[in-house]
């Protein structure tokens, strides 16, 4: 059974206060694709990611991961296959050491301690953070926290990686390093961001979201030079493409 493809059909989500954050959203993502989900603040990116892991449940529409419909019953199964990092890495790190934090997921799935150790070391190596393993997470720098929060997702060996604004609040050097790391991953990934330079670097495909729905879906290279579209969604061309004609 392949878990790598994602099918979202006509999804609606309204917050309890009546705010409709996702509105008739449909996409289709296949195995190994790297997709940027871009849109201004409030476009509904975070809400969509929360729906995809069942933190929120949609009022309408469906989400199919691999061959499995997302529902209360299938959630535990699906969550093993989807790794997610939050916009604020602090919310994701709650144990006393980096090692314990990365081991938290594998231990919950009752892997034996040898396997847990292999997973933790492997995940930390992938994000270049093995040297941090005994540090308390709350004393790390922003870039280090981000790397570790990604490792906490990787240690579950997910097929799909969802990331919410991974480059937000990173200094240029940490951001560069993170981009390097992200490019290495072979996972199917969806990166919610308004860092269009990063999107251009890491993702072949871009989905533009505005007011809870898809307004454009295509190759990143094409979308990033469509000034009219970007303007309409309160976005700007990546710096690297500014001053260039189509």
């Amino acid at each position: 059974m392949s878990h790598h493809k994602i099918d979202i059909k006509d999804l609606d989500y309204m917050y309890p206060d009546g705010k409709k954050a996702v509105n008739g959203f449909s996409i289709n993502i296949t195995h190994g694709e790297s997709v940027a989900l871009v849109g201004a603040n409030g476009a509904g990116k975070s809400t969509l990611l929360s729906l995809m892991v069942g933190i929120l449940m949609p009022q309408k529409g469906e989400i199919i991961i691999g061959d499995t419909h997302l529902s209360k019953e299938t959630l535990p199964l699906l969550r093993q296959k989807i790794g997610m990092t939050f916009q604020n890495a602090d919310d994701q790190l709650f144990m006393n050491s980096v090692y314990e934090d990365v081991a938290f997921g594998p231990r919950n799935y009752k892997l034996n301690e040898e396997e847990v150790d292999a997973r933790v070391i492997g995940a930390l190596k992938k994000v270049d953070a093995l040297h941090l393993k005994d540090r308390p997470p709350y004393k790390l720098s922003g870039g280090e926290k981000r790397a570790v929060s990604i490792a906490t997702a990787l240690s579950l060996d997910p097929d799909i990686l969802l990331m919410d604004e991974p480059t937000a609040a990173l200094d240029p050097k940490s951001r560069r390093r993170l981009i390097g790391i992200l490019k290495e991953f072979a996972h199917t990934k969806i990166i919610a961001t308004h860092d269009l330079d990063m999107a251009l670097d890491v993702c072949d495909r871009t989905i533009v979201m505005n007011q809870g729905t898809v307004v454009a879906d295509g190759r990143t290279k094409d979308i990033m030079v469509n000034d009219e579209l970007l303007e309409k969604c309160s976005l700007e061309r990546p710096l690297i493409l500014q001053g260039q004609n189509n």
């Binding site: 939050f86 006393n96 997921g105 004393k139």
Partner: protein, 265 residues
């Protein structure tokens, strides 16, 4: 400013301290939990005028403190936070119970004052022993031990999340405080008319963060059971500790009882 950031690091002091490797830290978490629970029950079981007895019980936290190499200052700071609650419970004892029970330096001391003091000492001792337990064992290990002792899952999760929530709450409070200070330089404390909005913001922010932290746990397969890497081994040292501690408690508890019996006869 420096003391604000300093405070931020202090919030997690106990968590960090629990990773030390002293004799006390290495004892089995389950045994330490059992000993602490028995200790708390015994302290509470003293009669309301048995001031001498509860004072004798302070031997245990004092010995633990030195074995765990925990600075007394850090313990006292945390105990002080809990004291207003204890005082609130006993504050009316001296008012209602005015019979003179004993004389100290020629001054008559009423039963109310003695029971008030006894209550405070009981509070200090139970809170201290709990803090020492957390500081030598770590909250996750304690939670795991509670499950080994078959305490209900929901109860254990509640304790665990409450403990986590306290650090989240204090961190948010520190960041709101910093933001306030930056825009109100040279001002002592917080102006009373902005207390309301600040407090409201604090609650909303911590609630949101609490939910997100919980979501993050759920996403990684958390089902209410905290699993620690190493299985707890209960070595000969732990059993020895259990024996010595229980023997010590009993001696203090029983000798006080005998003393009282002596007085009555």
């Amino acid at each position: 400013m420096s003391n604000i950031t300093g405070a931020l690091y202090k919030i997690r002091y106990l968590d960090e301290f629990s990773r030390k490797k002293t004799l006390m830290h290495r004892l089995s978490p389950t045994i330490k939990l059992i000993v602490t629970l028995i200790y708390i029950l015994l302290v509470v079981s003293f009669g309301k005028y048995q001031l001498g007895g509860v004072i004798a019980m302070s031997a245990y936290p004092l010995i633990m403190l030195s074995l765990a190499e925990m600075p007394a200052k850090e313990l006292i700071k945390r105990v002080v936070v809990a004291m207003p609650f204890v005082m609130g419970v006993g504050i009316f004892n001296p008012v209602f119970d005015r019979d003179i029970m004993t004389y100290f330096l020629g001054i008559g001391i009423s039963g109310g004052w003695i029971s008030f003091l006894t209550l405070i000492v009981k509070g200090v001792l139970t809170v201290s022993s709990a803090i020492i337990l957390v500081g030598t064992t770590g909250i996750e290990n304690i939670a795991h031990s509670m499950r080994i002792l078959k305490m209900p899952k929901i109860f254990v999760v509640l304790i665990l999340l409450t403990y986590r929530y306290i650090s989240v709450l204090m961190e948010e409070a520190a960041s709101i405080w910093t933001a306030y200070k930056l825009r109100a330089p040279g001002q002592k404390g917080i102006r009373h008319d902005v207390w309301g909005p600040l407090l409201g913001q604090l609650l909303l922010r911590t609630y949101d963060r609490g939910i997100r932290v919980y979501d993050a746990m759920i996403l990684r397969g958390f089902d209410g059971d905290f699993r620690m890497g190493t299985a707890f081994v209960t070595g000969i040292g732990s059993y020895l500790f259990l024996l010595i501690a229980l023997a010590g408690f009993l001696i203090i508890r029983l000798s006080v009882i005998t003393m009282i019996l002596d007085l009555l006869i």
